[in-house]
């Protein structure tokens, strides 16, 4: 109510005043203003959907290590660390004398110790706390898997003999994370993980927590900025849900002298057109520029400042359904020639042009794991290891006629003379709630593409339909598009928790989350959680097994490369392009912020320029950075 009165007064004041006042960008050069487009649900970094909150949390809660401007891992809350020879035991020495701070920036009585890292794992290990995305960490840290399911068995009444409190108390005996002393934490892993540092960077689950504080708040932990403690370069000083988040510099931070920006302001702008307009009016310091906007801007005053986005570790691919309800497609998809026909029919550059009009070829990606993300001990890029190299460097879109040839071979194997498909009768395909349709058991093969109702994805699907039908021929294939309008694609297309997915083919993305192929590849084995298409490729599974049991990291990568190459050569899944989206405009001085590889943004050290950075300046900074990087290594 008080709020209303206050605002009313202000409004009255304005109406009295002349309305010609101009509102521009405020002149302070050490506040970085940016935006977000989808609402963040909560700040609880263990139990929230991943991408939206991570950017904020990364800057407010420090992990054990952090990347520097060259992407090398350097000390953060841990001053130093060691690991054993097979990378299964990691010991971190924590910086002494640190305190958690609250949302006003004041130090609290809680000290930051090794125990806080142990407690982070304890927090996510309890199913009642509802941690998200914990599969990788749960399966890596020894004992955590059993601890988690032990508690769950008690909760759902399967195990009536064990006392819950006793099991919780035995956490430090069972689970492989221990505080050796006040400032030393040790992680014991089930398998060797040379990539452990990159996991610390990318996964929020390895961040510390003040357990007593979090437990006292219970479900209120992280619901807004007041119900949280901070230990990073910034703290969330202002939090208006769905509107504004303000990060303010933490004056007690151990590395405060290297924190250049005094504040970072996020505001919600749901619409891309609006953010562009606001950038032009100088109200925000950064905006992404989609492909269509690029054409309109390139001749304008900001044309020089359009900077191509650098890289994306996320890969877009086509998932094929091997156990779908469409008998026509189901018969064909088991055939390698048919899959290769699809692989060749997709024009990757055309698809890429939807996002990058100038040089779509830089989006083309044939591998699942991104290039530039994983390197072996000799510094060779994972995607350039044999035999994956051949796949990565192939040009599948080069010859559209190949698609037709592959298809003719598939048709010869699978169809009778009169165009009926062997063993398939006419029937109804029930992919409800998305689509229900009739198939006649004859050529053309009907292929049901199921997509979300996102506008860009609809356009992409329509283009996919056109190019596939053009390359393979309408007499052989009929692409049927169906879109899910529920806004909850996996929920609807999945039908039920345990039911099969309702689609023949869909467009999805996976991203390399840390410097090891296991992040994606172990998820897509025949039994893997992400294998929603339910293919069964024992050769691939065997190679993955070998990789996981490999003695050295290089050997492990070689097996992974073989496995990935096997899967892709058989076109069991079809990677197409990276998720890179066109261009951006920014006031950020390039290469002053830490180089985060896995989709994070860190503001520590970032500098802002007085004007939008031009592409020319950007290239100069880049050359500079490359030179320094090479000198440093």
């Amino acid at each position: 109510m008080k709020n209303i009165i206050k605002r009313t007064l202000a409004l009255a004041l304005v109406l009295v005043m002349s309305t010609t006042a101009l509102f521009g960008c405020s002149s302070d050069t050490d506040t970085y203003k940016t935006y977000f487009s989808t609402s963040y649900s909560s700040l609880n970094y263990y139990a929230t959907s991943y991408a939206t909150v991570r950017e904020i949390v990364t800057n407010c809660i420090d992990g054990l290590v952090e990347p520097d401007v060259y992407g090398n891992y350097v000390a953060s809350l841990a001053e130093s660390w060691t690991h054993n020879d097979d990378y299964t035991v990691w010991t971190f020495k924590i910086r002494a004398g640190q305190k958690w701070i609250d949302h006003t920036g004041a130090e609290t009585e809680y000290a930051l110790t090794a125990q806080d890292f142990v407690d982070g794992i304890r927090y996510i290990g309890d199913p009642l706390n509802g941690a998200y995305s914990l599969r990788v960490v749960r399966n890596l840290i020894s004992g955590l898997y059993d601890y988690y399911w032990g508690l769950d068995d008690i909760d759902c009444g399967l195990d009536t003999e064990t006392n819950r409190d006793e099991l919780v108390a035995s956490f430090s005996d069972i689970v492989g994370v221990k505080a050796l002393d006040e400032y030393t934490v040790e992680y014991t892993l089930d398998s060797g993980a040379p990539y452990f540092l990159s996991l610390i960077e990318s996964s929020m689950l390895l961040l510390p927590v003040e357990y007593d504080y979090a437990m006292e708040l219970g479900e209120d932990f992280g619901v807004d900025n007041e119900h949280m403690l901070y230990c990073g370069a910034y703290y969330v000083s202002e939090f208006q849900r769905d509107k504004l988040i303000k990060l303010t510099k933490n004056e007690h931070y151990w590395d405060a002298k290297n924190v250049t920006l005094s504040a970072v302001e996020y505001q919600m702008i749901p619409d891309g057109t609006t953010s562009l307009e606001m950038f032009q009016r100088g109200e925000i310091h950064y905006t992404s520029v989609e492909s269509e906007a690029y054409q309109a801007l390139k001749d304008g005053s900001l044309g020089d400042s359009l900077i191509p986005n650098e890289f994306s570790f996320s890969t877009n691919y086509l998932w094929l359904d091997y156990q779908g309800a469409n008998p026509e497609f189901n018969t064909f998809v088991q055939n390698e020639n048919f899959r290769k026909a699809l692989q060749a029919a997709v024009n990757r550059e055309s698809l890429g042009a939807l996002r990058e009009p100038v040089d779509p070829s830089r989006l083309v990606r044939n591998t699942i794991n991104a290039e530039g993300a994983i390197f072996n001990s000799e510094g060779v890029d994972y995607t350039q290891l044999e035999p994956l190299k051949a796949v990565a460097n192939a040009n599948y879109s080069a010859d559209p006629a190949a698609a037709r040839n592959y298809m003719e071979a598939a048709v010869a194997e699978l169809c009778n003379e009169d165009g009926t498909i062997k063993g398939v009768t006419a029937g109804t395909v029930d992919y409800l709630p998305v689509i229900k349709t009739e198939v006649d058991g004859k050529l053309p093969v009907s292929l049901i593409y199921v997509g979300t109702d996102d506008e860009d994805e609809i356009i992409l699907a329509q283009l996919f339909e056109a190019m596939v039908e053009e390359a393979i021929g309408k007499d052989y294939i009929d692409v049927v598009l169906a879109f899910d309008t529920s806004g909850d694609f996996y929920g609807t297309v999945g039908g039920s928790v345990d039911g099969p997915f309702n689609y023949d083919i869909y467009w999805d993305s996976l991203s390399t989350g840390y410097a090891d192929p296991s992040g994606i590849l172990t998820r897509i084995t025949s039994e893997g959680v992400e294998n929603v298409g339910c293919y069964n490729v024992p050769e691939f599974d065997a190679l993955i097994e070998k990789a996981l049991e490999a003695d050295t990291f290089d050997e492990r990568l070689n097996y992974f490369a073989q496995a990935e190459a096997y899967l892709l050569e058989g076109a069991y899944m079809i990677p197409v392009i990276s998720s890179l989206r066109g261009y951006h405009l920014s006031y950020e001085v390039p290469f002053t912020a830490p180089r985060c590889l896995y989709g994070n943004i860190r503001y520590k050290g970032m500098q802002i320029s007085a004007n939008p950075i031009t592409l020319e300046e950007y290239n100069k900074y880049e050359a500079d950075w490359e030179a320094k990087k090479n000198a440093a290594n």
């Binding site: 109510m1 709020n3 605002r7 509102f23 909560s42 959907s49 509802g130 769905d242 609807t492």
Partner: protein
Amino acid sequence: MAKYILKRIVRSLITVSIVFFVVFMPLRFMPLNGYFPDEMIKETDEATRMTYLRNLGLLDHPLIQLGRFVKNLFRGDLGRSITVYAKVPIATLLVEKIPVTAFLGFWSMLLGIVAGLAMGLMMVRFKDKLGDTLGNGYIMIVRAVPSLIYLFFIQIWVSKWFNLPLVYYDYKPLSWILPIVSLSLSSVAWYALWLRRFMVDEENQDYVKFATVKGLSKKAVLKKHVFRNAIIPLSAYLPSDLLNIISGSLVIETLYAIPGTGGLLTTAIKEQDNPLVQVLVLMYAVVSIFGVFFGDLLLAFVDPRIKLTED
């Protein structure tokens, strides 16, 4: 009178309960996968997901869930959001969002009434002349053209002409003007249309003819007799309007990035946030049903010809 009011209250409560039940049950038959964010489905195995659902109480029998919700409601606990705002108490959400929407809604309501009545008066004063034509043209556009189209153009073009901010800021009063004006457009048309209609009807009444014959000027007749009688039926809508300021406009709040209640219900339904949907539906049903009830009371109060009794 008291008996009538009591009866109406009981009936209103019954209606609210039925509305609530009609919404509550279908929510329980939505697909279980809908409760997970997409990332969670991709990252976790099925057993973990079932554990997650069970710990949220979503696997219990719908009637048990209903009982639990009602029990907590009487304790003053509205519960927590599950998908849209993970674990955030719904009461907190409402306290954060309602003031924003209500503030804009209140001013747009005032603007709607004042401008609408003024326009209606103008149309009657200059009946069949330019003023009337202009007013009718405005009403026609607002009522016939889909609101999304003209609201969008207002945001893009009007903000440019007057150099107004494109989105809403709580600290920049200039940025409140466009949302308030946009919100009031349809109520201006509504008040103008009905005031004109009622006033034209009243003009044919005998007492108006008598007042004219008595020698009162046209202006005085309109002001003293016609207008006063014509706004009585309009006053019945005042309580509804006043209560409804808490339910914002989805389109306007999305266009101007206003952190209000406007899109909350739709988002909650789409993301299957059962507790949030339930609370919002309950709240809006109470507001709308009791708004009509208070409107009837107000009408009986201002119009002595109306008596509140059961016929």
